[in-house]
């Protein structure tokens, strides 16, 4: 078991017949099971002193009536990595201080869509309409593996993409819940990815996540078992002795992971909608993640450009030394930052073929 507590399991009538309901009841036998209310207020979260934290303890099983799969919209003027997102689970059991979901989702509960068949059909429709490869993942609005030991969602997703080689599935996590995955034979078009950070950030700002050492050990186990891996240094955070912190994580990676098995590593600096500031201050205080010089650009708060440049360059250098040849890219940055950090745009990197593929 992963250890993330669930006090309530709410289910809509349409989702009641899903085998996921029985798995959830078995995984959290102490949880109250009830019919889901349409609005989150129906679950009393409005009266909670911390609705974000409270919402993480309720799992809602629903039928998704909207789209499952969408292209990450990116931001105008910034270089896009052509990622696709599966909105299968919305909400996360891990409580990171910087998490965008604190302000992004109106429903604070963890919502799991059970109509996998519809998702599969939608994926085929997208494949039919798209010539190139599709790199997609479930880690945009949730942690891909947080409930994997309980609900086994990854095995259903892996089964879905196994017969669709044009799709690369990324399962992105801050947990070490990979036992179910490692029980199966590696699949060529599946990548297990870990969000990494400096140890101090993981320890202080990522409540409920595995430590950096644990995550890297899990990655090492995945590589040993023949799986491809990826890493996301996102969000990079400027904090006391941050250079040493990121070098330490890079050094741990160097000891544990063969660079040839690393599909990609992304770097993204801390960014958040201005309205998130109050939520973060209220829930985590003003002295932590919000320490630093931020500027509005264009609709998100980011570190001022010279600070980001130094941050990216330092971490890039550490990772290139630790994992030579592993493809690196920047998330949500413009051409000038790419040139400043890498000396070129992704398409113009001759020895970085995987990046060419991602950014084509």
């Amino acid at each position: 078991m992963s250890g993330y507590p669930i006090d309530r399991i709410a289910v809509t009538k349409e989702a009641g017949a899903s085998p996921l309901l029985q798995r959830a009841i078995a995984a959290w036998p102490g949880a109250e099971v009830e019919q889901a209310q349409a609005a989150p207020e129906g679950d009393g979260l409005a009266m909670a002193a911390d609705p974000v934290a409270q919402g993480k303890r309720t799992l809602v099983l629903v039928k998704n009536r909207g789209r499952f799969i969408r292209k990450c919209p990116g931001t105008m003027g910034l270089i896009c990595c052509n990622y696709w997102v599966i909105d299968l689970v919305e909400g996360c059991a891990i409580d990171c201080s910087y998490c965008v979901l604190q302000g992004y989702l109106t429903d604070r509960r963890i919502r799991l869509a059970v109509n996998f068949d519809d998702m599969e059909r939608e994926l085929d429709t997208e494949l039919a309409a798209t010539d190139g490869p599709i790199r997609l993942g479930t880690g945009e609005l949730s942690d891909s593996l947080m409930f994997d030991h309980e609900l086994g969602i990854s095995s259903m997703l892996i089964a879905m993409v196994r017969q669709r080689p044009r799709v690369t599935l990324e399962l992105k996590t801050k947990t070490v819940n990979i036992d179910s995955i490692l029980d199966t034979k590696p699949v060529e078009n599946v990548v297990i990815a870990w969000s990494l950070n400096a140890p101090a950030i993981a320890y202080g700002e990522e409540r409920g996540a595995a430590s950096i050492e644990q995550r890297i050990q899990a990655a090492s186990r995945a590589v040993a078992a023949g799986w491809k891996v990826a890493f996301h240094f996102d969000p990079l955070v400027i904090h006391d002795e941050w250079e040493a912190g990121y070098r330490q994580t890079a050094a741990l990676l160097a000891e544990a992971v063969d660079p040839a098995r690393v599909e990609w590593i992304s770097l993204g600096a801390l960014r958040f909608h201005p309205s998130m500031k109050d939520v973060i201050r209220r829930r985590f205080g003003a002295e932590g993640i919000l320490k630093g010089e931020f500027a509005l650009c264009p609709n998100k708060m980011r570190y001022a450009k010279p600070l980001r440049r130094r941050l990216f360059s330092t971490v890039k250098n550490a990772l290139q030394e630790a994992l030579p040849g592993a493809p690196l890219y920047l998330c949500m940055e413009g051409a000038e930052m790419w040139k400043a950090v890498f000396g070129a745009l992704p398409q113009a990197m001759p020895r970085n073929a995987p990046m060419k593929r991602l950014f084509a």
Partner: protein, 322 residues
Amino acid sequence: MNLLAGARAMEARPVTLADIIPDPRFHCSFPHDISALDASVARRGVINPVWLIPSDGKYDLICGFRRYRAATKAAQEKMPALILEGADEYTLLLMQAEENSHTRGLNLLEKAMLIRSAHASFGKTPEQVIDTLFPAIGLERSMVMYNAISQVAEYGPYTQALVASSGMGAKQAAVLAQFEKEERELAAEWITDHRLGLNQCVQAFEALLDIRVNQGLSASEVMDEMEKAAAQNWDATRRTDVIFNTLIKKSKPALASMEYDFDDAVAALTLPPQVRIRPPKNFEGRHIELTIRADRAESMSAAIAALGKVERGGLEKLFKWI
């Protein structure tokens, strides 16, 4: 809600002002700027009756505090009143809150004072306040909102006055909670003295907080430093502009440094004053803006000619961060 708040009787008649005692439990008019009402009452008297409840041979005022003050100021002997007997007092609080909310709107401090009164004077729990008072004053049911607003009632007088007069909303006022009481009061007094508008007011608090968090300086230290940045003999508007801009720059040293560099590079081009060159906001963006502001063809022609003489190397310095 029962219109009469369960009152056994309701009577409308003029009441002598001397017989009316304001009941602080129902007071929710902050600040007391009622100059427009003063003039109206002095001219025509009070038109809409205030609400009273009988109390030991006199009357407690529960709705109409501003009208009462205006009538008192105009030395009027009587004012029209609606006298409610046997009404539920908490329901009356809700009714007058709703009445004020709809007729003139309540500022954040007034909402905070109503919450405090419902809690402290009427013994209501936070959940009861949220269920009953919040809908009456147009707030969504939320414990987060309850906590955010109710703390405004505990702030000092300068901070409260600033919240009320600037029209701060709950989200804008959230930054105030990050200051210790004394520091918050000093900052509020300083910001009030400089007559900053709402947005500048919030930005100033944000800047003071950022400087404390990132540079370890207290608000007092920063305010002293800012006061020295502007000469005492400057007019108030100029002093405020300089102080505010210096404060914002101090809170963002990396950006300020880029701006100084950029301004130096522009100055080195020795362009005429009608030419203005600006970087993208916060240096995020791909374009530099060049503007010629001219009221005559000669002036524009001179600007264009000057631009034509600028060397490429000088321009390239402007694009260092773009």
